[in-house]
Each structure stands twice: as structure tokens, then as C-alpha cells.
């Protein structure tokens, strides 16, 4: 998606440790007009999937998922991150390892909101090691629902997540795949 790539080149900041800071438009301050274009693009790519629900994970996936959901005309469910050891109630749960924050946390979704008849599109802002996406796909599987695919805004193509997820037969549509980045040469996108 050219508009997004241009924006990453213009406003993205490359930091040590392969960090791509896009917090001026994607995951702290959010450019809602850009989100609209992102939402339309996801709809175009998953137009054939009869999506019944969008699933994302707090916090930075929520805005993108909500704007995109307007084009699909479906509700959004967001998985909650929890460090609570004893989780009560009727929930699906899975584990996600955050490399950014260096810890493992549980993610949970109430069983009421994922049903066997649902066709789920997962939407998230980043795909890097793939742990969040794997965790979300586990929730979908546990619910007996169908995972139609994952819509990702930025995929770090030099990390293992994309290959890992695709090797499980999950359709991944990333609007920008970063193949390499450095402060000297900027961001190189996959064609």
C-alpha cells in the first residue's frame, strides 16, 4: 500500500534494536484518515471472505480494527491482556510473549464473543515474531471458529513471524513488509 509506505518513510523513526517507531501516526497518535484508507484496503483484500467478526488485541490494534470494521459492517472483539493468575469465568485464553516488554502474558476473550459459526479476520498493527497472532489464532481455534486470515499494517519481514504464521496455512495480508532498515539507508520494503 503505497500511501502507507510513503508515510512510514516520511514519519517512521528507526531506533536501535530494529525498532521502527511509528507512534506519530499509528500506535500512540493515530491518523484516522490514514486508518480509513487502511480499512478500505483490508476490505478489498478480504472482500471474498464473508467476515462476521474482527478480532484484535489491546491496545494499539483496536483503533485500526474499529475503523476497518465499518467497511466490513461487523463487530470488533479485542483480546484483553491479563497478568492475573486466576482468571474466572467463561473465557478462551492463550499466552503471548512480548519481546518489546520482555514478558509473557495471558490474553483472554469471553466465550460469548467467539462462536463456532464465526468467520474471524484478525487485524493488528505489527507482525514481528508472530506471538500475538499465534495467540489470537489459538483463541479462534479453541472457539471452533474459522480464521479467514490476518490483516497486518506493518510486517517486519526480517523477523520470523510472517513465515511462521504462513507455514501454518494462515493467510496473511500485510500492507507494508519491511525487509530491512537502518539509520543510514532508511527502510527497504518488499515489492
Amino acid at each position: 500500500m503505497q500511501l502507507l509506505k510513503d508515510r512510514i518513510r516520511k514519519d517512521g523513526k528507526i531506533r536501535a534494536g530494529n525498532v521502527l517507531k511509528v507512534d506519530s501516526f499509528l500506535n500512540h497518535q493515530m491518523d484516522i484518515e490514514l486508518f480509513g484508507e487502511i480499512g478500505k484496503e483490508f476490505k478489498k483484500r478480504f472482500a471474498d471472505c464473508e467476515v462476521t467478526k474482527i478480532l484484535t488485541i489491546e491496545a494499539s490494534g483496536i483503533g485500526i480494527a474499529c475503523i476497518a470494521a465499518q467497511y466490513f459492517k461487523v463487530p470488533v472483539v479485542f483480546a484483553k491482556k491479563s497478568q492475573t493468575k486466576n482468571i474466572a469465568g467463561d473465557i478462551y485464553t492463550s499466552k503471548v510473549e512480548s519481546f518489546t516488554h520482555g514478558r509473557v502474558y495471558d490474553i483472554i476473550v469471553a466465550k460469548d464473543f467467539l462462536k463456532a459459526e464465526d468467520k474471524i479476520l484478525v487485524i493488528d498493527d505489527f507482525l514481528a515474531n508472530g506471538s500475538a497472532l499465534l495467540g489470537l489464532s489459538t483463541l479462534v481455534k479453541d472457539a471452533g471458529a474459522t480464521l479467514v486470515g490476518a490483516g497486518i499494517v506493518i510486517e517486519k519481514g526480517f523477523q520470523e513471524g510472517g513465515e511462521l504464521i504462513r507455514s501454518q496455512g494462515i493467510r496473511v495480508e500485510s500492507l507494508a513488509i519491511v525487509d530491512s532498515m537502518s539509520e543510514e539507508n532508511g527502510v527497504k520494503f518488499r515489492d
Copy 2:
């Protein structure tokens, strides 16, 4: 807002400890069509305010804020919750006490995203004890920006937050104010 009150009566669940569960349409599963109507209503109520930015707090405020922002044509910034003791970088920070989770946490916003010339509308899903809203208003004040008001989806009118915030001269527009609720008599809204 009648549509919202009807929905709370229909799908809201009253639980012990004055808990109003609206997770089937507001803060876990999210009804995006309803969010659109909520966004339009906020725009109507704050039409005269020349809002330049919407500020909310993760996680459940984000979806509502993003949908509403489309009608204001402004970006959204969400304050991040942090339990990190040493916060690095150029940030505004404040403390919020969560009664639901029984702890105090820091909220942070990067200084880049709140400017003195900004006219900020705060949007959140709930107003109960007012702690989150006070924390957000502190961030706005520290940035030297103008707080034009707060748009709240559900205010618990029997808790002290609404009075506390309004007594500070902050304009609060709540789309539904719950004056009392019980499993026997259901939800009573303020007129």
C-alpha cells in the same frame, strides 16, 4: 441519547458491587454501528469547540475515540498505562487510581503529541470515580493545551466523579447517566 439507553437496558448486565457489564457492545465486543451514532452525537454536542485532537486512554476508550474522530476530522492520542517505575523520554505523566483493579498506575503521553495550541476533547467509555478523567486533564494542563471538555458514553451518576470533574469547571457531556441500578429494578437513567 435514547439509542444508547435502550441498548444498555437491553444488553447491559447488572452485577454485584455496582458493576454495569456492557461488554457485549461497548468494551470487549464493540458494536461499530452504535459507535458511529455515538461519534455523531459527540460531534453535535462539541460542534462549537474547534477540537484539534481527541485524547483517550487505553484500552476501551480507543475504539470510541477513533470512530468519533472521523466526525471531527482530527487525530486521536491515547494515553498509555504503565507500571514502569522509571519512564524515559519526553513524556507527560499522571497517576490514575483504578477501583476495578485496585491499584494505582501511571499514564503517559509523549510530549510531541500534546501541544500548547491544541484544543483537546477527552473521550472515554465510563465516568465513575473520575480518576482517569482527572489524570487525563492533568496531562492536558501540563502541556499547556486547552481542554474543551469530556465526552463520556456512560456516567455512573451515583458515584462522585461527575460532580468532582464538573466542580473543576470541566464541561462533561455524558450520553447516558445512570442514577441507580439494581437487579430487581434495572437501570434508572437521569432525564
